[in-house]
Symmetry: D3
Subunit: 285 residues, 6 copies
């Protein structure tokens, strides 16, 4: 099985997705360097090394990245939290990851999120015709909270490091990565663990990526999302949420804000508008 010539650094290795990736990529023969602020809860995979460290400690992160050809950045706060909680691990942490990548000439796979664009309306919520176009990745960033803002910031930092330093980066706007869908929204947004592993594999092994953005969901017919840069890395999802429609298709929140926006429940946390912001809020005449 093809594997990278250099070790791959995985941040957030002790988190849910980190553990899936650590196991899945090691099983493909990859040499991994794992790091997290929490201890690694599983047996260490073959060829892997784990260093416990805080993403706020940049000099330590740079050292862990030495010799690596890619950084899979899954570390940091992964849910909506107060700004001050998000600041250190996510904003400062991104800077440390990108400095590490620049130093190593490494490519970054950034675990971005649909919450970076969570205030776009869902296609089926956009008008009477129920047939609104899907969203392409070159849409405007519309973060749905402090977490989403940190993800949008990460995409922009990736762009700056590409423009200024030629650091390649693959920004994966992850939908909902769980063992299986648990509500109707995930029929659109679900990313299977298998598709996640294949996405990480493609992002690392692709000969060239430049700065690109990918909708990280499985091959779901009900997906909100359209064009992206997946051809750059040659990724195609193989699973589909549709098989779970009977099981979860009726599970909706009843919250009109949550159901209107792509970010779902994150959009409604603290929502205080009397009416949704107009679709043309950013349009030019």
């Amino acid at each position: 099985m093809a594997h990278p010539q250099k070790p791959v650094l995985l941040t957030g290795a002790s988190g849910n997705l980190g553990r899936v990736l650590a196991q899945g990529l090691a099983a493909q023969g990859w040499t991994l360097r794992l790091t997290d602020i929490a201890p690694f809860p599983d047996p260490l995979p073959p060829r892997a090394r784990f260093v416990q460290a805080d993403l706020n400690d940049g000099v330590a992160l740079l050292r862990q990245a030495e010799g690596c050809g890619a950084i899979l950045h899954f570390g940091g706060i992964s849910v909506e939290q107060p700004f001050e909680t998000v600041l250190g691990p996510n904003l400062r942490g991104l800077y440390h990851v990108y400095e590490a990548a620049r130093r190593e000439g490494a490519r970054v796979l950034f675990a971005s999120s649909n919450h970076a664009i969570g205030f776009h309306e869902r296609p089926d919520a956009s008008g009477p015709q129920g047939n609104a176009p899907k969203l392409d990745v070159d849409c405007a960033l519309r973060p749905d909270g402090y977490y989403g803002l940190s993800k949008a910031y990460g995409e922009l930092m990736g762009r700056t490091y590409w423009d200024k330093h030629g650091v390649e980066n693959v920004n994966c706007r992850i939908g909902s990565c769980f063992p299986k869908p648990v509500n109707a929204r995930m029929l659109s947004t679900w990313l299977s663990f298998g598709d996640l592993i294949r996405l990480a594999t493609a992002a690392v092994l692709a000969p060239r990526s430049g700065h690109c953005v990918i909708w990280a969901c499985s091959d779901n017919p009900a997906s909100f999302w359209g064009k992206d840069h997946r051809d750059r890395i040659g990724w195609q999802p193989q699973d589909s949420a549709e098989a779970y429609r009977a099981e979860v298709g009726h599970i909706v929140s009843g919250d009109p804000v949550e159901e209107r926006y792509q970010g779902g429940g994150y959009a409604s946390i603290g929502y205080s508008r009397s009416a949704p912001s107009p679709r043309d809020a950013f349009a030019l005449d």
Copy 2:
């Protein structure tokens, strides 16, 4: 002369642009609340109050904003600096400003910058024809460094607060605001002090602004920039850099990166690519 019904908070009041605005807006009869981490160096204008405070102290900032109808956010680091220097005043500071605005139902005028999009090429650098189209404000964000990233982050935070809380914000991508142009690039980017004061005035007094973005340069024929949302607030610049062409039109840096990109010298700080990133780096097929 028309003036706002409520006081207006001005951050960064002790800086160069802050002092220009404090004097210019007070002269129009406005009631100002001034704040800065440094003492205010001028005689306090009539109806103004000054509180010395750090943008990192959010509870203090929220208190200063009480009763204000608008916040002119000119505080924070205003040049390219190491990330850690920018983090507190600019990223955390923005959060404090937007929380203040949300609490007060106040509008924000954010002193954004051309450096939020500084890695777009200049029109005259884009191809053999020398006739490239000007850049519209709905272009992709392409920050040219840590300072530019903080400005892009501020624009996105403005968008989130508009989408989620209905906080209006006018994001002014300031070109080069100096007494007069001092080099050829400023023939494109110069913003006169008079146009700055008129811009702040329009941004505060406009009946509605929503979330909008404006190219903050004077009426320069050589401007890099095209469409924006200035009609929303009814601003038109009245000065022009062109009168200074003979004086400064020959002053160029000789640095090819600086001359290629809109961000000028900021784009070249630490630049380490062997070749510019392709124009189509973000294009979809």
Copy 3:
């Protein structure tokens, strides 16, 4: 059952008293906003919302308080600890609570403590006659340690916010709030959970409170304490520690400092005087 028109914010919700209040007040139909630095360990009561946050994060606390009509401040360090441990959650935390209350026009119920006056002698320890007068709430503050100092500071901050901003605050000097008394001292100081819930209810529902101070113990015949402002809020304790005399009346520490002063064991932590400070230490001639 009467309940407040606006939601009520409860800090320290995950602590022992916080959990009692969350359950007890929700059972009366109240709408609660709960917060704590630790996760809430119980099932979330009806109409309640929980946000995990640090009392050091003032902007987050102000946001949690939005729309609330009262703040029950039970958060922070609740036992004697080194000064540096107490500083952030208790002193800075109080400032954040009072700024929140001022912004909202909310009333504060502050969980003060007998340790704010713990160096007053117990009535039965004051002289040969064993018949010393009980202590009224307008006695001098005599904190018995860093924890007690933080409680006295909180009472004074309440006074300042009342004098300067009209923020009402009910300072409850809690004795010993446990399921039942466990030693002889608690025959004087015990506050039953039922009386605690009734006290919080009265403090929130009273039409006016101003700045007032209340001895928060049950209707114990052996109480150390006399007059207070309970009439302002119409609270009367209904339980009594006396029923436990046979069970615990013989349980004393044998430490003469602990038994002499109202603060009990807290007074003796680190005590280093050769003789008690004279009763007239603060008397004027």
Copy 4:
């Protein structure tokens, strides 16, 4: 001239009052240890040593206090400032000073302030008769802001260290210590430099002080203040502000809050009540 057997530590030595004391006490033959966060701006007095250090650095402060018999604590923020600015130097700083005093068996002279009781009304503002009684030091603490709260906290910490550890402390509620009065209020509150030096001298040389509180103003007929513990240390002011009545007696602010309360302008900073808090706010029935 009598002088202490041990060296005396003076914090805040580089401030206005610190410089007056350093010069005045050294001229009496005292051995001084001076410290401040800012360099000492004057020639070092004979027998004096200066160490530049932050009051936040407790271990350094404890070391400076070694061998000293008294600490004159004039350091920290000395005007109304945002809470966060006051926290470190004033609250944490007090803890460091008292730990130093406990370790050394040293007496503390604490530069408290009238702002610890600034929300008491001025005698001439209290009623139609213009003849209200003067305020005694055993009045309730009524701080007029964050600065005043830090001073009240310091008095309480002094009380705790006296009760628990036998640390003597003289709390001087300084009125207005300037070369001469500059407005009508200072006819009541002025403390001359000479009386300041004599007060510090008496406080250090008195055989016993216990915990006591003193109104630190000169012998002003118009003083707001009555009984205190000055007999404990044998201090009598010798100067009077009355001589300046013709010069400054007409200088009033015109601000009704400032003129009503003893704290003057500090009481009116941020004042937001619609009516003053009732005189009986703390009275028991």
Copy 5:
């Protein structure tokens, strides 16, 4: 059984060696003051007191040391960790321990480590003859990482406090203190729990120690180490690792760096030389 006249402070009391010492020394009748950042996991020994505190809090540590005649400093990070993790507890913590000792006139037993000299080669690795001389304690310090650097720093701080203030300190370069040896290297480096307790006992009870350094391993024939200052305190180890040779003598790592240097596995963490540094790296001609 002889025991010290004053209490003995033990830092790191909740760690593995701390727990062994707490139990062993209390069993000898000693009065102990225990402290750790983590709760003490065992029943509190007789005559012992435990205070939970951070080694970064110097004022708290100084207070815990009051009245103590000796400090056994076993606190801080005890394995190789990133520099930033080591900095506070180990470097700052040492300063707090030595200031405490200076104030109390107490002797320090510092749990130094073989990692302070870990880059000396093992005797059997030094040359063809396999008969290299053992290492004496006056050898050059050659730390094998950030942990080892903190231990070397502690030894030097001990020397400075001895030279400048007469603070006595016994620096025990602990080899491997475990219930029993678990690999071949520990046949050289093992320190039995019994020898540890006897070492601490001797270090505290010795009439004079000055500044001295001791190889803290049991009476192992295969020890790497030669002369030290054990005669100063009259300690002789009584156990030996040799009995475990059959059991563990074949357990080697196979890592040539680990097997070459005295520091073992610590020396190989992050090792990146192409060839070992020459033996004469510090020699003078």
Copy 6:
């Protein structure tokens, strides 16, 4: 004139010695990267770049070092200060410098100090014969305070990085580097600016240095110091303090501690022994 192939990073560039080096080395045609926490006060030399940054910001320092072949580390606190003041710039700063050097394969010239060994007695103070041997660089480290400890720590860190990573480092124990000697001690310890520049030049240009230590004083007949590793880099001082004997030879402090020890006045700061520590404090039997 020979100059390095790669740029040279100079920390502490805005300090006294930094300015001398910046000017002197630039005059030799070197390409310099300058950094300091304070602005550079002089005109920027040719081929030099200046970045203002804090030594606590490691990621920024690593970036400044990119591409450099040597780091002249003159930054940090340069006089005796409280420990907490020294900690960040000196201890953490050293770590950042060495990580930078390791990453770049750069050699470090560390501005160590005689205060790392300041508690060795001066030759002429050591005994009746007045003819004590000079001190060689392989003597034991005997720091004379917190500043000296930070310098000793830096030498040890250099040793670890050499042993573990092959980072070369030249540790220059600077005596007294001033325009000319100003007291009798400097007849022994003076280093002329010219010799400093030649030393830095030799340290950078030498083909190999390994880890070495050099007495950085001019060719003073009265020097305290003997053998060192100067041959490794081929440096010979050319100036001598002796010419100033008539001018300053009579200027002594009169302080017996200061005159006894090589560290001079630093040794006497806070000195509290009743008698000097014995010469044989570290000797083995």
